[in-house]
């Protein structure tokens, strides 16, 4: 999925076609930095109490932890096109989607810490982030995001509301029957649905070659009469350009689209992953394609930013991430009696 780096004139042309301005690109840069920083500070906080012996139950953040460092461009490229009213259904690896959808980093972090100020008052946790105001939900069950997003899309159409629903998933998830079932449903009813596959080459410890019958999941969409884009998930501009078409088409009533964004997760499947199923070299190779650095370089080439501008944005992002952690850490835990409440509305 690696594409040639566009010459400056071509880059201008591509940006123009995508309708991407300087402001938009700077915002994307900042957003990607926020995600990167957020994930990295979460990683650091998660490690507390877990070294030298890694124990999932120890420290201020318990349970599994799936981070998306390296995959920022996919979340930002897609979600920067969405409004609060558009629905996003995410997965076990949801922080980047949540932040890109505009969820408050503090309340997000607080949920990850299990605090009462968290999005779900500590009941959900890192794999179950919900924010009704941002129309955001997720699921720790692989393959579960597709039908739920289709349902939201169905609902928007039924209510005559011009919103779109986005299902994020991994490439492993697209092997699940729900993917093809949802393609059928979305095509049949021409739902305003965009399915985004973050193809990061691995599902847990299982490399794509051991689990995929073909090379790309997006190829399947065609067989269900759903158009699909295969994009460079390490390039926010490429993701954005495809997502823009898909989302505009969906809003206009022209039905669903699949976007497969080839990307890479720099960290393990979850924190604590020994990663013996892949080589260090592969990880290093992919890091050379880093989406944040690439966008930074382009901004400089375009003359839209200099090192200082970028450093400023990075600092802002770092400050936001740090503030989110402080908010989370200083927030109180929920009270035990809360546990028994809220099964039913």
């Amino acid at each position: 999925m690696w594409k040639p780096e566009p010459a400056l004139a071509d880059l201008r042309f591509l940006l123009d076609r995508a309708g991407l301005t300087r402001e938009a690109l700077l915002a994307q840069y900042r957003q990607m930095c926020l995600i990167r920083d957020f994930e990295e500070v979460i990683a650091a906080r998660y490690a507390i109490g877990k070294t030298p012996n890694f124990n999932m139950a120890a420290g201020p953040i318990r349970g599994e932890m799936h981070l998306a460092v390296g995959q920022e461009a996919v979340a930002v490229g897609v979600c920067s096109l969405l409004t609060d009213a558009d629905a996003v259904v995410s997965t076990h690896r949801p922080h980047h989607h949540a932040l890109a959808k505009g969820i408050d980093p503090g309340r997000l972090a607080a949920e990850i810490f299990g605090k009462n100020t968290g999005l779900c008052h500590g009941k959900g946790g890192h794999m179950h982030l919900f924010d009704a105001e941002k129309n955001f939900s997720c699921s720790g069950i692989v393959g579960a995001s597709y039908p739920q997003a289709a349902g939201a899309a169905f609902s928007f159409r039924a209510q005559g509301r011009p919103h779109v629903a986005v299902a994020f998933s991994g490439e492993g998830a697209a092997n699940h029957g729900t993917f093809s079932e949802t393609l059928t449903a979305a095509a049949l009813w021409q739902l305003p649905l965009v399915i985004v596959i973050e193809d990061n080459l691995y599902a847990d410890s299982t490399p794509k070659w051991a689990a995929l019958a073909g090379t790309h999941q997006s190829h399947r969409a065609q067989a269900y009469n759903v158009p699909a884009y295969l994009v460079d998930g390490m390039d926010v501009i490429d993701v954005y350009a495809a997502a823009k078409r898909a989302i505009e088409r969906a809003r206009a009533g022209h039905g669903p689209t699949v976007i497969e964004a080839v990307c890479y997760r720099y960290r393990g499947h979850f924190e604590g992953d020994g990663e013996d199923y892949r080589t260090r070299e592969e990880v290093e190779l992919w890091r050379t394609l880093d989406p944040i650095e690439r966008l930074g370089k382009r901004l400089i080439r375009l003359g839209w930013a200099d090192d200082a501008t970028l450093a400023g944005l990075r600092e802002e992002a770092a400050r936001d991430a740090a503030q989110a952690m402080t908010f989370a850490e200083e927030s109180p835990l929920p009270e035990q009696r809360e546990a028994l409440m809220g099964v039913f509305a």
């Binding site: 008052h121 579960a144 349902g151 169905f154 609902s155 029957g177 509305a345």
Partner: protein, 336 residues
Amino acid sequence: MKGIAFAIAEAIDQEMSGNPKIVVMGEDVTYWGAVFGFTMGLHEKYGRARVVDTPITEQTFMGMAVGAAATGMHPVVSLMFVDFLGAGFDQMYNHMAKNHYMSGGQFAMPVTVLTAIGGGYGDAAQHSQVLYGLFAHVPGFKVVVPSTAYDAKGLTLTALRDRNPVVIFGHKLLTGLPFLPFEGEEETVPEEPYTIPFGQAAVRREGSDLTIVAAGVMVPRSLRAAERLAQDGIDAEVIDVRTLVPLDADTLVASARKTGRVLIVDEDYQSYGMTGELAFRIQAGAFDALKAPIRRLAVPDVPIPFSEPLESAVIPSVDRIVEEARALAGAQVAAD
């Protein structure tokens, strides 16, 4: 009115006409009224925009219900036979039932699931199950099992106004459809909409010698058994639980305290299901008033066999209810 299918369809129609959020989806909900009649007539009235035949994709249309409920709709979803739950259970118990709780109360899940249960007409192991025990075990579902058309209408209307997932288990032999045996009664059912609250068991017959607790088609069978028992001078109280979740344990306990003897009758599999739960709740509340161990009659942990003599050997019949009740009435404090 004859049968719960007409009652449920009428309830949906009445609520749907005033509530644009309601959409009906599932396999064959148009021409076939969801096969067991629960959506009869709706397609003709509301068209394919609001009554939607889905491809055979249980996980997906259940998941769509979750997504639609989260964004302002009230989906009414048909799971044609309860036996098919396994094709879509994840979206039900891990999402529909949990999202309200997991989201800290942000996303209500107003979904009404309609499903057909039960055997007794030769449909064998994969089309005759009851399985409400599975839904009752996982938190987040309300579990409704109507035994009369009157209840079916009132409970369905309650479900359609509930902001939570409610699964309505309609027994095939109570539908009143011409192609199936009918074990209910012709009833007077008010035309105007009315609701019946969840969590209120109904004492269908008062009695003093023993209590029979049942649900669904086991209620009319228990009532028939009670008539036979009366001829032997045994006066049975018959209680219809109506909703397994929420469960009206008070009514069960009060009856057990009165009669001292309890028989639980269930068409679901015997072990790890309704009979055990009800027994627990009854002994917890009526321990000192019980004169004999609680008994139960249910499908004895075998798949439902096809052939008639085999099928009738495993599904509780009026005869076997009578037999069990007689043994119970005669039972001294057992030391077995």
